[in-house]
């Protein structure tokens, strides 16, 4: 089975974010970046399917040069090779424009299965998977917990709201977005890290994929820190002092102790 996994590099989860002076994005200078956590689960699902059924796992990433580090990590974990659509201004591409580039890079690969995370931790549109499915003409399902391959297709377990699940069957090729937290993520081994250095990373430019100067259907006008809608009473001082003040409030104001 040939499995393409879309991965994205995003600011590390515990980053303290500041707004850039342009007001159009966050200040990127002092941030460290890592693989988008939901995509790490998609990669893990892809690697497990390969271990079971054989074939190849290819990572595809749209991002600036620094995303090369995240791609190397995916290769070290076991992806066989990678496609890096390199652009220094990925923010100029709305989700459809970005997916068009990825679809153009994916088509010649003729994958059996395309996997993505359920959403990105930065923009969080949660759309790249289903958009890619439509562009590639593939059936899809989202929030997938398990994938079983059988003759003529796959059977997947899909998460619904409120603790419900559903199995869905579909033919291959297909696209799935993988639910986070469904398995334990593997670490790269020393051998894996060594091997990753020799694995192929094919660099592609938006121009080669016919997607430079994208038209956008939506535009980020402004980013800003949210205003507090509620007045939070914050208790300061040493941990002991803060805890004591909080308990007083819980006892005499909220009356829950």
């Amino acid at each position: 089975m040939k499995i393409l996994v879309a991965i994205k590099q995003v600011p590390a989860r515990d980053s303290q974010l500041k707004i850039a002076s342009s007001g159009l994005w966050i200040a990127e200078e002092d941030l460290t970046h890592e693989i988008n956590e939901p995509d790490a689960y998609a990669l893990e699902a892809g690697l497990q399917l390969k271990e079971k059924h054989g074939g190849e796992v290819v990572a595809i990433c749209f991002g600036p040069a620094r995303a090369g580090q995240t791609i190397r990590e995916a290769l070290a974990k076991g992806a066989d090779r990678a496609l890096h659509i390199e652009a220094e201004d990925p923010g100029a591409y709305d989700p459809l424009a970005a997916a068009r580039l990825m679809a153009a890079a994916l088509r010649p690969e003729a994958p059996d299965l395309v996997l993505t995370g359920l959403q990105s931790d930065d923009l969080g549109y949660g759309q790249t998977g289903p958009i890619l499915a439509e562009l590639l003409g593939l059936p899809h399902a989202t929030l997938i917990m398990e994938v079983e391959k059988h003759e003529g297709g796959i059977r997947v377990k899909r998460e619904l709201e409120d603790g419900w699940f559903q199995h869905v069957e579909m033919p291959l090729p297909a696209l799935l977005t993988i639910q986070s937290g469904i398995s334990k993520l593997r670490y790269a081994t020393l051998m894996g890290i060594k091997k990753a250095k020799t694995k192929e990373v094919k660099r592609l430019s938006p121009a080669e994929l016919g997607g430079e100067n994208p038209a956008a259907s939506i535009r980020l006008d402004r980013v800003y820190l949210p205003e507090r809608v509620k007045h939070t009473q914050l208790f300061e001082g040493s941990p002991k002092e803060a805890a004591t003040k909080l308990v007083e409030k819980l006892k005499f104001e909220a009356r829950v102790i």
């Binding site: 989700p95 923009l123 949660g126 709201e161 579909m170 980013v223 914050l234």
Partner: protein, 324 residues
């Protein structure tokens, strides 16, 4: 110009989030000086139409087909494309449900446009709709505008608008019969199921102490259990804790777990991603303990301590024991 709301139902029961979207659409329609209509997809929808007919709407479209009885992204996309071609709305609003997340990006892409997903608020700026959505799990907000051709799609987050602010009125009901070929539908959904009966019902708990990623290790959960015991509270958690198996799934609060509304909800080491907030923001008193002063949990908290939970919680247990 007009607005179309796509309501969600399954086997004749509404997804109640649809009514929040309906209320939002009525407000936005008033602000844009236009009208709103609603559509619902399925088979045998007459009873549901009755409930809608009492709302202030231009029209109600019952989109009925045998292949819409059970949801599939292919059939829903096909049916909605046909409806949109006839109705030609400027804006299409939907509740941000798991189902909408599954088909809306596909539908928008098939029309060459992008949906704005997970909207929390809006404003009208010189006749154009500006939508507010969250980035970075709620740490940052953004204003988004549509720059392409109509229809403009947006899905609205649970709890962003209030269903009790619906305006009553009357609406004409119209049936719409899309043409859908069985061969268009490539996925075959099976019966829905639940993994196991829930032994813990957090929805009736008076006090809840809830733990998140900040707890770092499974062994540290014991500290939060001690705090819950001291308060006489139920222990709950955000999703990552249950995914990791540190607490059972039935103790999960949030969009994929339980929705709770206790007298007090104490969130320890929980940043407050929206998937968690929707499950607990109805709590009467919310307490947050987190090391990040910008964590979105403080947006909804009444009381807060910015600090290291491993230092604060032991002191808190001590103070509670003394206060009792």
């Amino acid at each position: 110009m007009s607005i179309l709301i796509v309501m969600e139902q399954r086997e004749g029961a509404w997804n109640r989030m649809s009514f929040e979207t309906l209320a939002a659409a009525q407000q936005i329609a008033a602000e844009l000086q236009t009208t709103a209509s609603a559509a619902v997809l399925g088979q045998g929808l007459d009873v549901l139409a009755g409930e809608l007919a009492g709302k202030q709407l231009e029209k109600i479209y019952l989109v009925e087909h045998e292949l819409l009885k059970e949801y599939t992204p292919d059939a829903y996309t096909s049916a909605l494309r046909q409806l949109l071609a006839q109705v030609k709305p400027e804006y299409v609003l939907l509740p941000h449900t798991y189902q909408v997340r599954d088909f809306l990006p596909k539908l928008a892409t098939s029309l060459g446009t992008v949906a704005v997903s997970d909207v929390v608020a809006h404003r009208v700026d010189t006749g154009a709709l500006v939508l507010v959505r969250q980035l970075f799990q709620g740490k940052v907000n953004s204003d988004v505008r549509f720059t392409g051709a109509a229809p403009h799609f947006a899905s609205l987050q649970a709890g962003a608008y209030r269903a009790d602010q619906l305006t009553e009125g009357s609406a004409a009901v119209e049936k719409f019969a899309p043409a859908i070929a069985a061969s268009e539908v490539r996925t075959r959904p099976q019966e829905r199921f639940r993994e196991s009966a829930r032994a813990v019902d957090l929805s009736t708990a008076e006090l809840i102490v809830s733990v998140g990623r900040g707890i770092k290790e499974a062994e540290n959960i014991a500290l939060i259990q001690d705090l819950a015991n001291a308060l006489g509270a139920e222990l709950a958690a955000s999703r990552p804790i249950c995914d990791a198996g540190w607490l059972p799934m039935e103790r999960q609060v949030g969009s994929s777990g339980q929705t709770v509304g206790p007298k007090m909800y104490m969130a320890i080491g929980i940043s407050g991603a929206i998937q968690h907030l929707v499950g607990m923001k109805g709590s009467r008193t919310i307490v947050a303990i987190n090391k990040d002063p910008n964590a979105p949990i403080f947006e909804v908290a009444d009381y807060g301590i910015v600090g290291d939970l491993f230092q604060v919680v032991p002191e808190l247990i001590e103070a509670i024991k003394q206060a009792k």
